[in-house]
Amino acid sequence: MPLPPTDPNAVFLNIPYDEEFQRLYLAYIVGLHELGLKPRIASGIPGGERRLDRVIALVQSCRYSIHDLSRVELSPVPPATPRFNMPLELGITITWAKLHPKRHTWFLWESMPMRLQKSMSDLDGTDPYIHSGTVEGVLSELRNAFVRDGAPPIQRMMRSYRLVESNVERILAEAGSRNVYSASVFRELCFVTLDAASSAGDEVQP
């Protein structure tokens, strides 16, 4: 069976889909677009496939992936439960990258240094990027992880972030949704991010 095509600029985002993560989610969208990359999320793909099948197809179609393992707390909603989706999707990705190392590269992200050694000791020897739970942390670490000649300065990325962030409520209201992770809202956030990046100056040139 032929392998599915890989988009060399696509980045699969394996992140917690919850309200507290919204700002960092926006930061990932803005930062990746500013670096000429294309964020992809599982819910961003319309269609009725089983979620796990969508995730596998996404991983296979993306050249890179970011696995943000900063949400390790138990959910406050009873019954208190840890989130296993992100580690599961990381495991799927590691297997795919092991089988096809030239087709996929994955990155780990955390908000706290040293915590990963405790939460997932099998990953010892793989250093995560630490964003400290801040927008600026995500943006600056994206610049460190994805090195591109002519990458925009962090100030420009922050400006784009503020522009996009100021429109989130309106986009949600017009979509009749409270879910920033839904497919239609994700697409519109990508659109306004591209608009912000193009107005801030020429995009990065390879």
Binding site: P8, N9, L35, G36, L37, K38, R63, Y64, T105, F107, L108, T126, D127, P128, Y129, N144, A145, F146, V147, R148, R159, R162, L163, S166, N167, R170, I171, E174, R187, E188, C190, F191, V192, L194, D195, A196, S198, S199, E203, V204, Q205, P206
Partner: protein, 67 residues
């Protein structure tokens, strides 16, 4: 140190990336207008902030000139 990658794949043109999002043209227009409003508001706020910074500096200069 976490690993990093040097990306050499060419960036797709903006129009291509926008097309891939499959947003109807009419909605694109609305979103662009929304962003234009935000940019104008942000520019006004930045202007106001820079004026606020200039005024105390001027006062300081005037005061030292009077001395």
């Amino acid at each position: 140190m976490p690993r990093s990658v040097h990306i050499t794949a060419p960036i797709e043109p903006l129009e291509t990336r926008i097309k891939q999002l499959r947003i109807p043209k009419a909605r694109q227009k609305q979103l662009r207008a929304m962003m234009d409003e935000s940019r104008a508001r942000m520019a006004r706020e930045e202007q106001a902030r820079s004026e606020e910074r200039i005024v105390p500096e001027e006062k300081l200069q005037n005061a030292s000139a009077a001395d």
